[in-house]
Subunit: 385 residues, 4 copies
Amino acid sequence: MKKRKICAVVTARPSYSRIKTALKAIQEHPELELQLVVAGSALLGRYGNAVNVIEKDGFKIDEKVFMVLEGESPMAMAKTTGLGVMELSNVFYNLKPDAVITIADRFETIATSIAAAYQNIPLVHIQGGEVTGNIDEKVRHANTKLADLHLVASEDAKERVIKLGEDEDYVINTGCPSIDIAKEVLAAVDHSFNPIEKYGGVGADLDLSNGYLVVMQHPETSRYKSAREDVLCTLKAIHELNMPTFWFWPNVDAGSDGTSSGIRHFREVNDPKNIRFFKNMEPNDFLHLLKDSDCLIGNSSVGIRECSFIGVPTVNIGTRQNRRKRGKNVVDVAYDTEQIKEAIHERIAKKGRLSEEIYGDGNSGKRIADALANTKLIAHKTIMY
Amino acid sequence: MKKRKICAVVTARPSYSRIKTALKAIQEHPELELQLVVAGSALLGRYGNAVNVIEKDGFKIDEKVFMVLEGESPMAMAKTTGLGVMELSNVFYNLKPDAVITIADRFETIATSIAAAYQNIPLVHIQGGEVTGNIDEKVRHANTKLADLHLVASEDAKERVIKLGEDEDYVINTGCPSIDIAKEVLAAVDHSFNPIEKYGGVGADLDLSNGYLVVMQHPETSRYKSAREDVLCTLKAIHELNMPTFWFWPNVDAGSDGTSSGIRHFREVNDPKNIRFFKNMEPNDFLHLLKDSDCLIGNSSVGIRECSFIGVPTVNIGTRQNRRKRGKNVVDVAYDTEQIKEAIHERIAKKGRLSEEIYGDGNSGKRIADALANTKLIAHKTIMY
Amino acid sequence: MKKRKICAVVTARPSYSRIKTALKAIQEHPELELQLVVAGSALLGRYGNAVNVIEKDGFKIDEKVFMVLEGESPMAMAKTTGLGVMELSNVFYNLKPDAVITIADRFETIATSIAAAYQNIPLVHIQGGEVTGNIDEKVRHANTKLADLHLVASEDAKERVIKLGEDEDYVINTGCPSIDIAKEVLAAVDHSFNPIEKYGGVGADLDLSNGYLVVMQHPETSRYKSAREDVLCTLKAIHELNMPTFWFWPNVDAGSDGTSSGIRHFREVNDPKNIRFFKNMEPNDFLHLLKDSDCLIGNSSVGIRECSFIGVPTVNIGTRQNRRKRGKNVVDVAYDTEQIKEAIHERIAKKGRLSEEIYGDGNSGKRIADALANTKLIAHKTIMY
Amino acid sequence: MKKRKICAVVTARPSYSRIKTALKAIQEHPELELQLVVAGSALLGRYGNAVNVIEKDGFKIDEKVFMVLEGESPMAMAKTTGLGVMELSNVFYNLKPDAVITIADRFETIATSIAAAYQNIPLVHIQGGEVTGNIDEKVRHANTKLADLHLVASEDAKERVIKLGEDEDYVINTGCPSIDIAKEVLAAVDHSFNPIEKYGGVGADLDLSNGYLVVMQHPETSRYKSAREDVLCTLKAIHELNMPTFWFWPNVDAGSDGTSSGIRHFREVNDPKNIRFFKNMEPNDFLHLLKDSDCLIGNSSVGIRECSFIGVPTVNIGTRQNRRKRGKNVVDVAYDTEQIKEAIHERIAKKGRLSEEIYGDGNSGKRIADALANTKLIAHKTIMY
């Protein structure tokens, strides 16, 4: 029997965590053949060179697609997407996949969707049906309407995709592969890992003996002009708390120049002695770091997903994760230094870490591969109502 | 008070008919300012130079956007769209509109949607909520999910857009501007118009004294490889019927090379004495031609919309208009010479032309302008469920 | 020893004749490996699908690059070139050639040059150093300044490239591969070839027993607005002469819409009974046709090159071949019906077909392969004065 | 009389200094109208936002063109250029200039040349005919072959352009506008300017009472992989000399990531107490800074041009300025810490600042405007030999 060729397009560092165990499972599935495309900011040093991690994990990359316009403005987001459509059209034309996977809701993921759908290639959308705000919200649901098969991460998401007029035979709750990694991390007995030794980072030396914080804050697309101000609120809060802190640089996105310049400025002026800055970390290591941390602060979806499964207290700032299904680990605050400080205090004081299985039980990669092998692949559909 | 700047993007000949009276109404509205962008095949001689008609109608064009890739393959459709995103991003950046209009569901209309939405410009989608098949179906609903305000053409469409999770305050049934033109045509007492004198065309001289047929057949995206064969069925049927016939060349689309080559081949081999071929006609003239015809044959949406209002018998071939709300004027057949011939006979024999108001009552242009002036303009939204 | 990977980019039907025997020789050379990219109009049905001929000739195509913008305007030429730069950058990045070949002087050939030169890949320019007019003139010499190795077609060209400041160690007169094909054609004892049977064509049936003409006329870039008028002069002349004539459609180029529409119009109005129209012919067959013809009319470079070697009388119209080194076979005329008619009469009456070796002796393909195997490959240079 | 519309395209910070006084002179010329396009890195914060300086200088910008691909690799250079061709084609189509100016030899300047030349718009090349190495060398001479009018900066350059086969009626030595600014700076009696107060910068506080150094070092395209190493040599030398130093970040270019990361790394590790880092400075202020400095170090062309006119000692590192005509102020060294240190010592010790007029006498802007008003504008040419 001929294997189904499944082409996955990874466009950014965080997307990789959302698909990694599925890529492994596809690779190992007897009826599937993996085609891997790495594109966009996943190729760029400024955003942590995810491509290196991917290669180190043993994946063969079939195509690299350079498509990111400089400037990190809304205009650059739009042009990057347009360029992505043009480039990925070539890629799919040459690779001739039986199905293409587009992941979640970053702005450039719609380029994958268009390039596949317009060439009548069955399109698989991973992690549709969730709710946030901003441009991600529009992109995610537009991806759903361009896709033929929906592999969602929660029951909540499944219901929503069906309400959007999709055929329920093609909507499958596989859970999120990021939870698979979280499960491995929880299971690991011994992980001899010194983050500073392994990744360097820049800034203060940290004494971790009395606990530590982790911060990951991205700009919000709809308020990208205040990205600098927004990150300064958090920097001020963390600086004043004076607890040892691992701080991660933001993704490429409209506004990340603002976030980055805020961080640089704060460092120049305040030279904070309790913060160390990192560009990137392998997903595995990052989760180990989180697992033992006192609190995650920022607006990363990791706080909502992985941290819910592991049970890491999370202070979620702003509206970026708006309406995403939350577990008990999360408390929401505004972009406000005092609120952030108070919430961190409250989270740290709280007893009893509570874990939940909202986004999967840790076997999502395998479920995704099975769905790709067993579901009929179609490239045309009609709305159900 | 500052006028709202409304930027409409017309990318093809048929889209112009779907928006023309709205453009006029926007132009004349005291609180609105029209910005007009003409793009894609609307600029190309091979597709009838719609741009000339638009200028002759007295519209000032703010930008012309050349974006069509040669080849009319799925690949060319995808690349044209990607290029459109890049080009239109510039255009909106420079024109700084308060809202952008994207029309219906041609593949390249999503370029307008992305370029506007990613730059946080309120996006107005005209004629969402309908149902067809093919890539149009995916594009139309993806446009809906990227758009902030929905001006739909029927009650049926309104319900569907709301089901898609849109806020009903932003879904307004304005009817279709194409019906406005149909209404004017019906009302015209005297229209001294000789199509052959005015447009030339090539092929047979036609004697119109005993009635005539009109054919407009486009390739279907999902079966673009059979476009040549599909058009030959109809050519054979029309040739055999031997009634005087006006035949219109297809739109630019994947497969239109197939349709065109089918027509050219048939002409070379059969030199049909009852068919005259036309590239384009002003919408007004086209409707006058239809009004007095015995039957429209093909798969154009004009048969479903305008002809329903005017009451022109229509033989609709294939699945291109699949599930679009039909009036009594329409009969559906497959790509089959015998079926087509029979259906034309049946339609011509039928007595009583019946007109319906499914897609509007002839005042849609005005309604669209009013909606654009009076609705709050937003650029972000969240799904309603 | 590792073979040198030589990547040739063929962007149009006529370019293929200028490189075909070199491609074969590269393929067969023990120290070289051929990488073949087919791009631009060579992929399009409207321009004769050169890609099919190339595949039939037994070449494996490594990449196909769709890059032609519709419209055939100066704007479309520019955008096609820009798109070509972007696409070919990817191609070279992935193929990692040791050298890239760009052919002659069509507008899009500079895309190949930029994509290679900017990525520090040694660039080989075939057929630099000639002189024409129009945009080709600018493109050809710009290609020379971007290229590192120059394989020219005549002594005249060699001198000119050296005068342009190139290092004479990297300027080699290999002759033109098109002459290799001409030589084979002259040598062929028996070529049982009926052009109408093999290629069809459209238009009149031709009686070839008393000789025939061949016409190939392209638009001139600098006067593309008069392309329609220009071709009508020639059509009128040929129609009036009333000799059986093979007429070939023009290349994709700014203005070819004008030329094409002129031809179509003339056919509709005059229905000429002595002309048959062809889209394309394999180079070999085309030369057989020329060899036995009474005269080649138009502005194709074939009249200057191959016809000079074979000794076919040529009426060269206009300035497109301006200052290209001519043999005795050529007479030059303006775009003027009477002049064209007279010149054809004069050429036909003339006795003694005279062949010359201005553009090579028929072994150019082999010489090019040897030069590519033996010359040091460099990617940087400095002007010699 | 209708004014000639002259469209200048500024793509980077350093290009602006090379054209500024000419832009003023065009603006003020009674027979000329200025159209100003700002593109590429001149629009980006990371490269000093030259666009702000341009607007502050009172110029109205007609179009902004976002075209820079992220990554600063050879691939990104090529794609940026391709995108530039596409974007600038639109711009010229809409602005309809009578002539377009492309400046010097940065990689993306050929995009301006192609977009203009292919649309038959007379192309004016500023500062052709010089000699360097690297990709600049290829681009500069290719620009010459695409251009119709050459306004060069020295006699040496004029001769070289004529040797390249250009018509000497269209080659005019106007000198370089950067010298106009240098002349103003020399003439300024009182320039109350505190660079740190005005521009901030980051790093050490500098005591300027005993003299200071200025460093500006860019990556070399042909050795972009060693950019990091190359800049570390110089950083080490300057650090060891321990003199107060103004250090400027590099231009966007393949390799500037390497240079930047080298600087960042050196700062983290060594925290040099004698260096302050700046992103950008208005050309005027920069020259004032140079005028009073003890030595300029690096590979900027400012050392060759402006510093030759003003008489600032210059240590020129590596081959980036290879074969550019030098004055007595320059000494050349390799990328070698010891050589650099010695050369700086030698320069500082040297008595007698010697100024020369190799690149103009300070009236170039005016001469350029006059040439643009008085020279016949042509869009086609043929090589002179």
